[in-house]
């Protein structure tokens, strides 16, 4: 199953703009974040606190819709889905 990860701002600097992950079996948002943390120590430090919780400032979108990192991390992902990871927005 292919999942596209998109990262922006500080997370883009750590992860790159786009990553294509090939995941065996079922995939969830938290599962993808865990894979990213294993592969990239800087991402782990930027996105997770010491107890392994996602930090409050990390924002997530699945297929361009915001998800709540406190409730929706177990959301099931499907082949071709896109998970976006970014810090708080600051435009304008």
């Amino acid at each position: 199953m292919k999942i596209k990860v998109m990262a922006f701002a500080s997370f883009r600097e750590i992860l790159g703009k786009e990553l294509d992950l090939d995941i065996v079996g079922e995939a969830t948002a938290s599962g993808v974040l865990a894979i990213l943390a294993v592969r990239n120590k800087r991402f782990k430090e930027a996105a997770f606190d010491e107890s392994g919780q996602i930090k409050d400032y990390v924002l997530l979108m699945i297929n361009r819709k915001r998800i709540d990192p406190r409730q929706d991390l177990s959301t099931r992902l499907h082949d071709g889905d896109e998970l976006a990871v970014f810090p708080p927005v600051a435009g304008g």
Partner: protein
Amino acid sequence: MLTIEITNEDFSLDELVRKAKRKDAGALVTFLGTVRDDGIERMELEAFREAALPELERIRDEAAAKFNLLSVEVVHRVGSLAVGENIVAIVCAAAHRDEAFRGCRYIIEELKARVPVWKKELSKNGERWVGHE
């Protein structure tokens, strides 16, 4: 009629206002955000374009409905900008000024809170993403 753009290019307010003008509009309020010099040299702007454009469209539609706007133009720049350069312009046309002022204010407030765009400030002392913890 209602244009939304995310672009590397600079823009002209005269051109945006020309597009926003309506015969039944008596008031056009424009917000222009520029790179402010508070010790920085440049600013880099980055957007999640595919998510930002539909979010801007939702904000524009909300504002048009709430404040009876007759037209709305929004341009947001991305890329590397020097002090004084234009970042964002919002033009709202309405029959009367109260609606135009409130509509324009609504759009910039919601844009800053909701639209996936990020700024990095570059100064002599280094660089900093705006809005981080």
